[in-house]
Symmetry: C3
Subunit: 412 residues, 3 copies
């Protein structure tokens, strides 16, 4: 048992190196490329256009998700540390699995687009990680990373290549998928011993401020997330503008509803850390469409309201009625807003705002994303439930000291 | 009273959506554009050149200002949280009010330049927020955001369109304006009950480190702030280089004077968090001029000295003599260095370093910025003084728990 | 004594202003430039391609190194604060000393390349700062900055211009150099009174989380560090891709070996904060070569293992046997991985992966970097040992309150 995590990590890294040796090579610069909506530019110039957007997404994955999950008073090392581990593994595996699906038998050409997509594929696991935060071991996260990214890549292939649906900001394929996958895993791993809560499942003043580092960086760079793989020109510009305003509107409604639903009209840190981001998720699918900025703001406003209400009403209900305990409330930040994103795209197509997809294909994409996630999550949960993955006991949940060297008396 | 903040926030968001629906549309890509000092490029390429600078400014607004204001031991949630709220509201309102002033009756074309300017317009309110930090309610901040951005946009129109003055890094129109507006508000809202200080108006070791996150990100990205709207080519390059060296020089003089004026030759965290940034403010107006790098360093050096001396000598004097209590010392970080920036531009024009403006126009710009700010701040302060905006009582100042759910015992 | 630090800082800033006045001017835009591997672009366009990479490096220097050094429980102000001071001084001095060496008697033309290189030159001092963290005074750091950057620039000139060696990510010229310089200084300044440790030389839960801010930002932006001065086109793309995968692989082996060597199979924060970055250092010299992504992953994997083993085995041994106390373990993060980087480049040349240099020249570069660093470090150490630089007494080590105003009771 003592050696299972390190040996599996080393074994997986060796496997990744072998897979990269067999299947991956550098993309080479072929000079001029055709870009819709703009003039011809060289591949090298395109690289420099996208590199800053890639780095923004990179910050979201490692700082954004990482610090957002440091809000628990004794689980910050795992929040940011296991986030780093999962993402570093996931991006390697994502390159391989996405590459094999998309490269039609040729070698995977690694360039800026692959590393953006590799970062994206890790996001699904990090979202699911939020649902089970504090209740799983590093080795369980390692297994989930491998299984979930495979399921994600399969669903993404289905949505993009078979259904030909549009989901530029990945509301459905990343956010809804990651949330429902995580909820399914959390449901299978449900601990009835913790149904009355756990003394460590709370934040401190400082841990809430560390979490705000994650929130703010996610909020800032979300326009890059939603636009990184959009077509250059008007579509990419719209993806940035729509996301910018959806997020701004979402902040106002999230603050307003946080105050409305909280005792004494106060603001609640959980809402502010999470629901202010729901606008970025919800506008994702429509982000590059010609929906008008004010519609992006309406989508963001609705997402902020729904997300706060989700934290207030649904999360407790899920825990007690459905026996699904969602530590970070990923259903409210990623699940519901992801569904809103998919539905918004259907409305937009009905209104004639996009010719790129059809109602049926968008509905199929939404259904496939949720369905694959739930089935994949249940199967993954069953594998993770096998009792030799070093799960923490109920009383050791939400406590770094089980997996990290933490000096006594340092937990303040 | 319980519902005034959420209802006003929701009402404002609805108003923003209506305004955007009526007045805003996406900018569309018209292909090749003329750029002074360089070859023709497409609008899409220009977008990608500016987007990274926009994101740097975005980080300054939300991480920089936000965390800089977490230095108080019990007011970190408000520092970073209300900063987010104010900026999210302000950027929507800024787009509308600036757009209406500049669009000559046509629809506002929203592209990268607008969202950079929208971020800029929020900076004024965030600077003023620093002057009243801990002594106002969220609803007062909401009202101040609306009023101050209107005043800011009016003054900026006057300075740029009527006076045709130059102020590329906005030393006068943002920094001096925001500081004197905030000081005027703080003067009107003066609380004589707090003239001997308040037990919560101090930092802790951790809150000082959180504030340093803000300082360092502001410091790093200031070259982008001062150059984002400069002419491409030599002028933009100079704006970056001048700001880079002005800030570096400012760090040395700020550290030196912090040690000189502090008991035992020690360094003082307030000086390091703030005065090290004064060089970015002070070089702003001249940033794109051909002043030579060493002159930028002289400007930065002076700003570092003046800012530390301001904290040591002026801030206490303002509080006791002028009955203006400036929580963050924005006068020393933004006010005085902003004035230095305006004066430096006059000297630069006298020396023939810029043909873009005249001494009279720069002096008019500086006078207008300070004058509009003081008048606007006094009027805003009088409105905020009306006793139904949920102001905290004197003893509840600088305490998050008045407006946020904070568990007892979490404030360390 | 009371005035030595501020007066030296002011004197140096005056000297910098004089040197810039004499030797520096803005680079001007000459329009079209030739770029190998790509089409012609204008200097202005090249500026915008490099500016985001510059800002990434800037974040690494000020946030990355700065917060990484906040891990000590009572030395966070100095970690991030003195880091800012050293880097702000170093970048000015680096421009001058590098400029004089490379400008062949003409004025130094300051553009984007210089400010990237100026940031690089500060990195060496910040690495060495890690070796002596907590045991030196600000004035000692100021002196070390001046001396080390001169030695660095001399060695870099030797390596690049005389040996014509290749070291695109500066594994040898920055990382190995900075580490061995710092170790030499630490050896000379060895305090036998602290050979049994010091009660302040430990972290707290929050200080470890602050340090993770540094780690994560360094990790994210390392591809920009290794590629910023690479040739545009395939080489720059490879530098980014190789660094991305080397770092990802390094995370897996660092986590695995941290668990393997730590009591009870737990993870150790020191390893996670540092060894996860070793892959960025080790792949540096080869980063732009056509080594294949899987080889980059092998290099990163090895670096992760070596770095953790260094922390476990070498650091304690250095402190007791060699009387070299390395506070941050820079030998494990920068020294050994830097040597691996140099050796990897020799292997790559043997395998025919690069025609840019020869085995002999790479070996000379590695030898020169280590040799110059050790000699320069010993000489610098001897100067710093002169007993009027306000060194802290043994019992005052690792304590901000010696040089900073820190309220009693705030150190938690």
């Amino acid at each position: 048992m003592r050696f299972s995590f390190p040996l599996m990590a080393l074994g997986l890294e060796v496997a990744m190196i072998v897979l990269f040796g067999l299947f991956a090579e550098y993309e080479t610069d072929h000079g001029m490329i055709y870009q819709p909506n703009t003039t011809q530019i060289t591949e090298s110039e395109r690289f420099f256009q996208l590199y800053p957007l890639f780095q923004d997404v990179h910050v979201m994955i490692f700082v954004g998700f990482g610090f957002l999950m440091t809000f628990l008073k004794k689980y910050g090392f795992s929040g940011v540390g296991i986030n780093l581990f999962v993402a570093a593994l996931g991006l390697q595996w994502g390159i391989i699995i996405q590459g094999i699906l998309h490269s039609h038998g040729e070698k995977i050409q690694i360039g800026i687009k692959n590393i953006i997509n590799a970062d994206f594929s890790t996001a699904t696991v990090l979202i699911s990680f939020g649902a089970v935060l504090g209740k799983t071991s590093p080795i369980q996260m390692l297994i989930m990373t491998i299984l979930e990214i495979a399921a994600f890549a399969g669903n993404e292939y289905l949505v993009g290549e078979i259904f030909q649906a549009t989901d530029i900001g990945a509301s459905m394929t990343i956010h809804a998928f990651g949330a429902y996958f995580g909820l399914a895993v959390a449901g299978i791993l449900y601990r009835s011993g913790l149904r009355k809560g756990h003394r460590n499942e709370e934040s401190t003043y400082n841990s809430d401020l560390f979490a705000m580092i994650g929130t703010i960086f996610l909020w800032i760079f979300w326009p890059s997330f939603n636009s990184a793989i959009a077509e250059p020109g008007d579509e990419q510009n719209r993806a940035i503008v729509n996301t910018y305003f959806s997020l701004a509107a979402c902040v106002l409604t999230a603050f307003a509803f946080s105050s409305l639903v909280t005792h004494g009209g106060k603001l609640n840190m959980v809402h502010i850390q999470n629901a202010t981001l729901a606008g970025g998720v919800a506008v994702g699918t429509c982000a590059d469409m010609d929906i008008s900025p004010y519609v992006a703001m309406i989508i963001g406003s609705i997402a902020g309201v729904v997300s706060v209400l989700g934290y207030k009403l649904l999360t407790p209900c899920f825990a007690t009625k459905l026996r699904i305990h969602d530590t970070c409330g990923v259903h409210n930040l990623h699940g519901l807003p992801g569904v809103i994103g998919g539905l918004a795209s259907i409305v937009a197509i009905v209104m004639g705002k996009s010719k790129k997809s059809t109602i049926a294909m968008q509905a199929a994409a939404l259904g496939s994303s949720i369905g694959t996630a739930i089935v994949g999550g249940i199967l993954t949960g069953l594998i993770l439930k096998i009792p030799f993955w070093e799960q923490p006991s109920d009383q050791n949940c939400y406590d770094d000291s089980v997996y990290w060297e933490v000096k006594v008396g340092r937990s303040k």
